[in-house]
């Protein structure tokens, strides 16, 4: 901070460059997102025999600032689908509203009897396909939704389903997935536990939850944009979705920090 009050609270020119007046012009010309603003970091998920486990921490960052520390980035869609969002939080909230609209439309379009509703509900594959179309359309309009999304749950045959879609509309599916930093830090750990589809059949729910917790710890240790509060959801065959939004990272060990020398004000 300096003694020029009108510079306070603004991005420093020497760090961020002069303010770009191309943004928010008073002529009201329409601006498309060119970069994310408030962001969530990694989302990770792994399939097991009868379902899928997914987790994401509760932090929304503003650049390097840990801005909102209680943001829920997992969303239950129905009894067999959960979504996890990384990337821009406002775009996530836009998608959240879009999905609510879709959900209501689906409920009202049902002319069949109540008992059929479970069979008619959108499953994880349906929702992933839909989101992929939304994301790809927006990228094709040069107006992307700046997110990486994991869609987990059960497909039409009640088999575990796990797939992703990102801001470009790129989609893929695998026994384990991780977005953002998680793709570097968590994915190797997850793949060691579940290398392929054959291993999914051997995976128990307990082991899957265990490896996801381990990954969340690694991510908290090494991802500077993470926090030790996270949400975790389990979608399992013939069960209601279990979504816990206030998990605390247990048994942290920062003993190694003692040995780190050479930064800050300490004398080496």
């Amino acid at each position: 901070m300096n003694h020029f009050p009108h510079g306070w609270g603004r991005p420093r020119d020497d760090v961020y460059g002069a303010y770009n007046h191309a943004y928010l012009q008073p002529d009201g010309s329409k601006q498309h997102t060119q970069s994310p603003i408030v962001t969530g970091t990694s989302v990770i998920a792994v399939k097991f025999k009868d379902g899928v486990v997914i987790a994401a921490d509760n932090l929304a960052s503003y650049g390097s600032l840990a801005r909102f520390t209680d943001v829920k980035r997992l969303r239950r869609f129905n009894s067999r689908v959960v979504l996890g969002f990384g990337g821009d939080v406002s775009d996530m909230q836009h998608l959240d509203r879009l999905l609510s609209t879709l959900s209501i439309r689906e409920d009202y379009s049902s002319t069949a009897s109540e008992s059929d509703n479970a069979a008619r509900e959108l499953n994880a594959r349906n929702l992933h396909t839909y989101l992929a179309k939304v994301m790809y359309k927006r990228r094709s309009e040069f107006n992307p939704l700046w997110n990486a999304i994991l869609v987990v749950g059960l497909d039409g045959e009640s088999q575990p389903f796990l797939a992703t879609v990102d801001l470009l509309g790129t989609t893929f599916s695998a026994p384990t997935l991780a977005t953002g930093f998680g793709a570097h830090l968590a994915q190797p750990i997850l793949r060691r536990a579940v290398p392929d589809e054959a291993a999914v059949a051997e995976m128990t729910r307990e082991k899957a939850v265990g490896v996801v917790r381990e990954c969340m710890k690694v991510l908290f240790y090494r991802d500077a944009r993470s926090i030790d509060k996270y949400s975790m959801a389990v979608v399992e065959k013939e069960k209601e979705v279990e979504l816990v939004e206030d998990e605390q990272l247990e048994q942290q060990s920062w003993a190694f920090a003692e040995g780190i020398k050479g930064y800050g004000t300490q004398t080496v």
Partner: protein, 260 residues
Amino acid sequence: MASVFSASIPQEAPGYSFNHLSSGTREHAFNPYTDNGGSTLGISGADFTIFAGDTRSTSGYNINTRYAPKLFKIGGEGPSNENARIVLSVVGFAADGNALKERLDTVVKMYKYQHGKPMTVAACAQRLSHILYSKRFFPYYVHAILGGLDEDGKGALYSYDPVGSYEREQCRAAGSASSLIMPFLDNQVNFKNQYVPGSGVGHALEQRVPEPLPRKDVEQLVKDAFTSATERQIEVGDGLQMMTITKDGIEEVYSPLKKD
């Protein structure tokens, strides 16, 4: 008002020891494309056409998944495209590849619904060219190869650039290992740089005449091409998806490749 903000504010605070900015403004423009790596190839024979593609999908140095097919049946019945007779392979930007596949598939399905007969490979090939060219100024970032059997029952193969230029060929490799595979195919399928022994020296040398190869030989060429490409191209590996179109339909085979 605007002038107040446009004037740079004098700074007395300590700066960073390194120069954070290159001069001028920094533009972040949204880039609507990415490259998902991988390679595909197609070879046509006397009464068959073979397609192959690895199943790895990448983002930079990351492996997205070890199983993302690049070969698609076109214009069959229902979502699994039963009884299809045309195959499309796409490599490049996977999201564009999927969009292209779905557009072509819809076109071929509507053709059958409206005309009561399946679309020929030649007609489908021209339609694909038009679809690609319709996005000439915002292209589908893919290298497509399309094939099946022509009206005489001979193997037919068409290859495309991203904006719709196309030609019928004997063989074509596309994607990140195309520069490794294509010369191999030139030599082994079209017998390039192969000469008839004892036919002379220098310009008198006689080029060995290419002829359609038997299916067993072609299958072996495909496998060799991909095991070799897997060794030298980091974006190629994990699995090999092969589709063979014959008069009896499409046979699909999956075999593993190295996962490193």
